[in-house]
């Protein structure tokens, strides 16, 4: 019981900023900072205006679709390349393995901000500026992801792989049918987190995507902030942030199952 109480308290604490966000979506501009959560004395002041303004004035639908497309495609790409490469690094010996791992580690370590002007120039030379390719292609390789899958794939028992090989399995099928199901919880976790990372990613897309019609949600929300400190429509901004969070929430609930079922479907109990 004590445990539950503690957890619930912690959970409430963790949720507090989130709750503030939800309340702010429905508050009038002047109430947003006047009352902590809800203007208890004037509940009638709650309004849907923020959302209405959001849809009328800003092309939020377009931002939503752009973000959806980019995030989902990118996640698929990254999970594929990372799990493939992680599998190879965990289970195979090959020339250049050490070099590759060293370089991977090295680039995880480089602050991304420094690479921006050079990467930007590269995009320019390739003619990819202002196209989705500039985000999807370089983003498809994630050292973090590969490293993570490498660690996760270690738990795939070698005997299982050997047995499958003897059964006549091709290497690719080994990956698809043997390794992936075992690390399924990790796939779910990584998918969720990569999607969120891509969904919230702001700096690089804002520099590369020039047309307003290609903007993603974070970029769109940032333009609503306007001049620093001037005229920020906090209510509308919070409404936008809230909408931006909804798809992620959905994804979370969907993928939660995978964490649990991953155990059931794992062949480790063999």
């Amino acid at each position: 019981m004590l445990l539950h109480a503690l957890l619930i308290m912690l959970a409430l604490g963790a949720l507090t900023p989130f709750l503030w966000l939800i309340c702010a979506c429905f508050k009038e501009q002047q109430d947003i900072f006047a009352s902590a959560f809800l203007p208890w004395g004037q509940l009638g002041d709650l309004t849907l205006d923020n959302f209405r303004v959001l849809f009328d004035r800003e092309p939020i639908g377009r931002w939503l679709f752009n973000s959806l497309f980019l995030s989902s495609t990118l996640t698929v790409l990254v999970v594929t390349t990372s799990s493939l490469a992680g599998f190879a690094l965990a289970k195979y010996r090959f020339a250049g393995k050490r070099v590759l791992m060293g370089m991977m580690l090295a680039t995880m370590v480089m602050p991304g901000v420094v690479l921006i002007p050079s990467s930007w120039l590269l995009m320019y030379k390739l003619g990819w500026l202002n196209s989705y390719a500039a985000i999807l292609v370089p983003g498809a390789a994630s050292s973090f992801g590969t490293f993570l899958f490498m660690q996760a794939m270690k738990s795939v028992p070698d005997e299982l792989l050997q047995a499958a090989r003897v059964d006549g399995c091709s290497e690719l099928r080994l990956w698809w049918e043997v390794a992936l199901p075992i690390v399924r919880p990790m796939i779910a976790a990584f998918t969720l987190l990569t999607f969120i990372g891509a969904w919230n990613s702001y700096l690089w897309p804002s520099i590369v995507l020039q047309d307003e019609s290609k903007h993603t949600l974070p970029i769109g929300l940032a333009t609503m902030v306007g001049l620093p400190g001037v005229n920020t429509q906090y209510g509308v901004l919070m409404a936008g942030t809230f909408l931006a969070v909804l798809p992620v929430m959905v994804l979370f609930f969907v993928l939660q199952r995978d964490f649990i079922s991953g155990l059931a479907s794992g062949a480790v109990k063999g």
Partner: protein, 303 residues
């Protein structure tokens, strides 16, 4: 290998080279889009340039100036402080949380999991904004809560303006943001630990702590190491969170991290070559730390 039918030859070929093929998509993108800009930035750091036609080769001058700059070293100190505080708090807390949420006896497991994860979903910039509001001196919820218990102290704590509270504020915000993420990875790793091992240990008479030490920890060890490493790298590269929170670099530069220093010189003052040099020095620092960590974690055995 004996020469067999063409099919058999193909089979053996693909066995030998499949590893390379697997790694290929990753490596190709990686080389093209990381290594090339990386190399370019080395070149940039050796120049002082203010425009396309105005570049001067200065060799290692940028680096020399950098290493003698007291502000740079202050930012290094800030960054290291943050990293240490962050890791000490984040890893045990999120592991503990994941373990709690993993046990069978919890009600509303899904909801609780969601509650802790919610913070990660909202994104870096939003976290900074919301903490700006929460930690406001008079109206912020945190100070109001403190004032409820200790009235005279509550309204005087100036999170954003006082150099003593600046770093704790950033740590708080960063913890809130990233615990959800670490928790998710730990959850996934905990699922993979074989339940049979727990039962076996229980049968052997191992208590909870012993079970934790000898079953859980080794089972999640790769992921634990990964998270510590990633957490370190994240902390050492921290920039956006304090920058948005302080709308600058904090009182007496207490909120300036190394990347913040880089940003100030490179993008606010316009000297990209100098920023590249700072980036490379940071790179060296982080590499050393990462290498030490991996060695200590025994991961170099895998190399």
């Amino acid at each position: 290998m004996t020469r067999g039918t063409p099919r058999q030859r193909l089979w053996s070929l693909q066995h030998r080279y499949s590893a390379y093929l697997f790694v290929l998509p990753f490596a190709a993108v990686f080389c093209a889009f990381f290594l090339y800009p990386l190399a370019q930035s080395v070149v940039l750091s050796l120049f002082r340039s203010v425009g396309p036609r105005q570049s001067r080769f200065v060799g290692l001058d940028n680096y020399g100036f950098l290493l003698r700059d007291p502000l740079f070293w202050l930012s290094v100190a800030n960054t290291v402080l943050f990293t240490v505080l962050f890791l000490i708090l984040q890893v045990p807390l999120s592991l503990g949380l994941a373990m709690l949420l993993n046990s069978e006896r919890i009600w509303f497991r899904d909801v609780l999991r969601f509650a802790f994860f919610a913070s990660y979903m909202v994104g870096n910039v939003f976290v900074a904004v919301i903490f700006m509001v929460l930690l406001a001196q008079r109206t912020g919820l945190v100070n109001r809560a403190i004032a409820g218990v200790l009235p005279s102290v509550g309204s005087e704590i100036n999170w954003r303006g006082d150099a003593r509270f600046a770093m704790p504020a950033v740590v708080l915000a960063a913890l809130w943001l990233s615990m959800g993420q670490a928790m998710i990875y730990f959850l996934a790793a905990l699922q993979a630990v074989d339940r049979d091992l727990y039962e076996a240990a229980a049968v052997d008479g191992a208590g909870r702590w012993a079970r934790f030490r000898h079953v859980t920890l080794p089972g999640i060890r790769p992921v634990l190491l990964y998270l510590v490493l990633v957490g370190t790298i994240y902390a050492l590269q921290l920039f956006e969170l304090p920058y948005v929170f302080f709308q600058g670099f904090g009182p007496r530069f207490a909120g300036m991290t190394v990347v913040g220093y880089l940003f100030m010189n490179g993008f606010l003052a316009g000297d990209i070559g100098y920023a590249a040099a700072a980036g490379w020095v940071l790179f060296v620092l982080i590499s050393i730390v990462a290498f030490v960590q991996l060695k200590a974690g025994g991961a170099t055995r895998e190399f």
